[in-house]
Amino acid sequence: MRQPNLLRLSIGALLLASLSGCVPSDATTPPAPTSTFVAPYATDEEALAAAEEAYAEYTRVVGEILQDGGANPTRLESVAVGAFLDASVDGLEEFAAKGGQASGDVRNNAFELQRYSPRGSTAEVITVYLCSNVSGLDLTDQDGNSLVSDDRPDESTMQVTFDFSVERQLLLVSDVEVWSAGEC
């Protein structure tokens, strides 16, 4: 009689131990600490210059994809990231499906630093304001119909946020919002 009781106890303990091993779940696992991250720009001025450079490259790549009728929009991965990248690729694929054609270009100026957060997270490291002038850009479908909204302002102040890519050691556009439409 004693032996089965002992067996029962040990199986019970084993079961308890195995169950308690189930407790951690993905839903409660904290993200890997990124507090050691420090962005490589020593001053606000350096951060702003890097953001300007990154946005110029972003504008160039978007322009290149538009000139190619929206072909291979995943090229944008070299300059953008996250949900903004996904939405951009979707939009450019639609543009390609319509047989989109682009002429002219976009001009950016008046870059102004809103925020530089060098420590902690690689997300949203830099946010800038800039003036984006799209008046020279024309977009049409394959039949020559304009794809530009009638009330598109010629220029707007944009708020652009950048994540830092540690692997590539550069800034990627992670969010773009109109700060002030029609005004710079």
């Binding site: 939009g91 109109v178 700060w179």
Partner: protein, 279 residues
């Protein structure tokens, strides 16, 4: 005896169910505009909450002044407010009004005060300009776990309202400058940060944010957000001028329940099988 014991491992496929918070964060996510949307003008211009007031496009007869002055339509779809510089137009003011698609009324400065100096425009002078109502959001939506961070955020942004100022056509720009949260448990906080969703911060649910708050006691709470706006005005294409004073608007309150989270062992997914063991 032993068989009874061995039947326990049949429940070895016990599944841990943690209450899913996916739905709450999904609700708060907004569609993101892509690169092209900013080039073709299809992206909404202002990030306003769903509870924002839609001002009608009708206008009262101008010139009545005061609080009965007309309110004009405000197009969240991207109205252009660019100054007009076409020299062919007789009057910059008229052209400016044409752009606004509103009847143009000459603007006269406010009456001089007793000292013969023009007094500053104050917040009461622009009472007829109605800013959009702010809205408060929270994650998880309408519930919180005692001891864990609940993420609160405001959805409002700087926006321009057209109207009549001293009998003349004018615009007022409202800019949110402070967010006052009353958490309903006796605590309040004032921030200059509107906050944003966990998804937008790209952090895990229940992570602290600049605007998160931790409830200490279970219960039902009413959370109230009051947003303070600074205002500027401009007339006939002139530059923005400060308005003295601020305007505070209370968002529709949120009601939510704080409780303790309990981890339970269940046989299967309780959503798929609500009557299952442990559900």
């Amino acid at each position: 005896m032993l068989r009874t014991l061995l039947s326990i491992p049949v429940l070895g496929l016990l599944v841990m169910l943690l209450v899913s918070t996916e739905a709450s964060s999904a609700v708060a996510d907004e569609p993101t505009c892509g690169a092209l949307s900013y080039y073709d003008g299809s992206c909404p211009t202002y990030d306003v909450g769903e509870d924002s007031i839609e001002l009608g496009a009708s206008s009262e007869v101008p010139g009545t002044g005061g609080s009965s002055g007309g309110s004009y339509g405000y197009d969240t779809g991207g109205a252009a407010y660019s100054p007009v510089e076409d020299p062919a137009l007789d009057s910059v003011e008229e052209a400016w009004c044409d752009i606004q698609r509103i009847e143009c009324v000459p603007w006269t400065p406010p009456a001089d005060d007793a000292d013969g100096k023009t007094g500053p425009i104050t917040i009461s002078d622009i009472a007829s300009f109605r800013p959009q109502a702010p809205a408060a959001g929270m994650q998880p939506n309408q519930w919180m776990i005692v001891g864990l961070d609940t993420n609160f955020y405001a959805t409002t942004s700087a926006h321009v309202v057209d109207g009549i100022l001293f009998g003349g056509t004018a615009q007022v720009r409202f800019t949110p400058i402070a967010y006052n949260w009353d958490y309903g448990d006796g605590s309040t906080s004032t921030t200059s940060n509107p906050g944003r969703t966990w998804a937008k911060y790209r952090i895990t649910e229940f992570d602290p944010t600049p605007t998160s708050y931790v409830y200490q006691e279970p219960g039902n709470y009413t959370i109230t957000l009051a947003v303070t706006y600074a205002a500027e005005y401009r007339v006939a294409g002139s530059s923005w001028q400060n308005v003295v004073g601020t305007l505070t608007i209370v968002a529709p309150p949120l009601t939510a329940t704080a409780g303790h989270a309990t981890t339970v062992l269940v046989d299967q997914d309780c959503i798929a099988n609500p009557t299952g063991i442990g559900c």
